[in-house]
Symmetry: C2
């Protein structure tokens, strides 16, 4: 097999298996190539991935060693993508009764979701995680997109326990905006004790839902290592109950009467 | 830039943009390479993608022409993956009260979800689709995984309409197994009139939920072009209400007392 052919196959393999350790003999056997050729191939791919700003190939020496693709997404690319997203969202047609912003089309489009996953993946790339935890419904695609980059399983908290989940742990929490008491439930066997988790959701206002997720995680003795929200909005009525989080967007103004809508970058881009 | 470097960048680009038309001048300009070199690169990638069984690069001639990566997943690979999945599922520890099978860990693992997306993507690759429609909660990751392969947006039907969706159309339907009347709602602006849709869900027993989705699609004048379910189970009490569907798995027996669980391949593998 020629170098160019091996490079197609290896680039494909790395992109399908982010963060997974691949032994050099695996490639050597697959391609019937010399170890030195495979090493050179990997150097080329590593350099190109770095120059494309999409991560790097990490090499671990020794008997249990190998290579691993660590995806990344440089800050410039992240910022450009979020600026494009802001442009899409700042459309008065998106304003819904109650001052909400219609985002379901954006959240339904994998071309956006994939990029959001990359941005959050880069934001939390150095955090040691066992699970990514979200709550049904709209956080789910975001959770999977980040999970794909970080190679970590997703756990979905539900509003309604289902028979197909087995025994569940449930808590009540006060929704920030409506002040209503709501329930969250999570299957008992979905998280192992003493795990490290990343919480993710599409939207945060007063932070009641995230606070509820934090409380539920305590029931599982899990440590919340990070909180990711796609969009945050200011809540005039009360103080935010969540302090330490990463947001990509901030909805600053939604005026139903004038049709004005102002979206800016979230705190991930402050510095 | 050398051929091997261009090939890394192009393989990456194709894999990030399935089914999207890319003009040759885009590559020529990006790499400052001759058109003939870029064409040769594409031929190498095309041949290698085909020999890996992951699809092909389609070339369209003419002024509005270009190249497009059409992902595929050959039947052998699909079958091998499903056999592995069956092995994971046939574990008596997965049996839940009521004869259900715990699958949330599988559905939470992107390494499985990605492959399921490829299998369904191959099953429906020649169907002209505008949307992939699922119903909260567990069908969601499957829908996105297929959407990634087919480059089609996802639309999520909810059990509970939310303020962040705007006006919704809702219907009542009878859940097959519990005989309870339930509600499904979908945001009015989420589907355009006269669209072609693929319905997808994780599990089908009597087919009540899928039937409900079909009815809701009628309200949007949408045409159901296909139905995909990951796992089907036989319902002894009543006839299935859905006829034409593709399933990857069939749960044949779940015996709570003996702990016996038998899973076989679904109808996609009949023939």
């Amino acid at each position: 097999m020629k170098r160019s052919e091996r490079i197609v196959a290896m680039t494909h393999h790395f992109k399908e298996n982010p963060r997974k350790l691949i032994s050099l003999p695996y490639f050597v056997d697959s391609f019937q190539a010399a170890k030195s050729s495979v090493s050179e191939d990997i150097d080329i791919i590593d350099e190109m991935f770095q120059s494309l700003g999409i991560g790097r190939i990490e090499t671990t020496a020794g008997a249990s060693g190998g290579v691993r693709y660590i995806p990344d997404f440089n800050h410039n690319q992240s910022r450009q993508f979020i600026d494009r997203l802001i442009h899409v969202l700042e459309d008065s047609k998106r304003i819904l009764p109650g001052g909400y912003v219609y985002m379901s089309d954006v959240l339904g489009d994998y071309n956006y979701i994939r990029e959001i996953g990359k941005v959050f993946g880069a934001a939390f790339k150095d955090v040691d995680l066992d699970y990514i935890v979200t709550v049904a419904t709209k956080g789910i695609p975001l959770a999977y997109a980040v999970a794909e980059v970080l190679n970590v399983p997703v756990v979905i908290i539900r509003r309604d326990p289902k028979v197909t989940e087995g025994s569940t742990v449930s808590i009540n929490y006060v929704s920030g905006s409506s002040r209503k008491i709501q329930t969250m439930a999570l299957a008992k066997r979905s998280i192992q004790e003493d795990s490290n988790v990343l919480l993710i959701d599409d939207f945060m206002k007063a932070g009641g839902t995230i606070k509820g997720m934090e409380n539920l995680m305590q029931e599982f003795n899990a440590t919340v290592k990070g909180i990711a929200v796609l969009a945050e909005a200011e809540d005039e009525d009360e103080e935010r109950r969540v302090e330490d989080y990463v947001s990509l967007l901030k909805i600053q103004e939604v005026n139903e009467r004038s049709g004005a809508i102002k979206v800016v970058t979230g705190n991930y881009f402050n510095s």
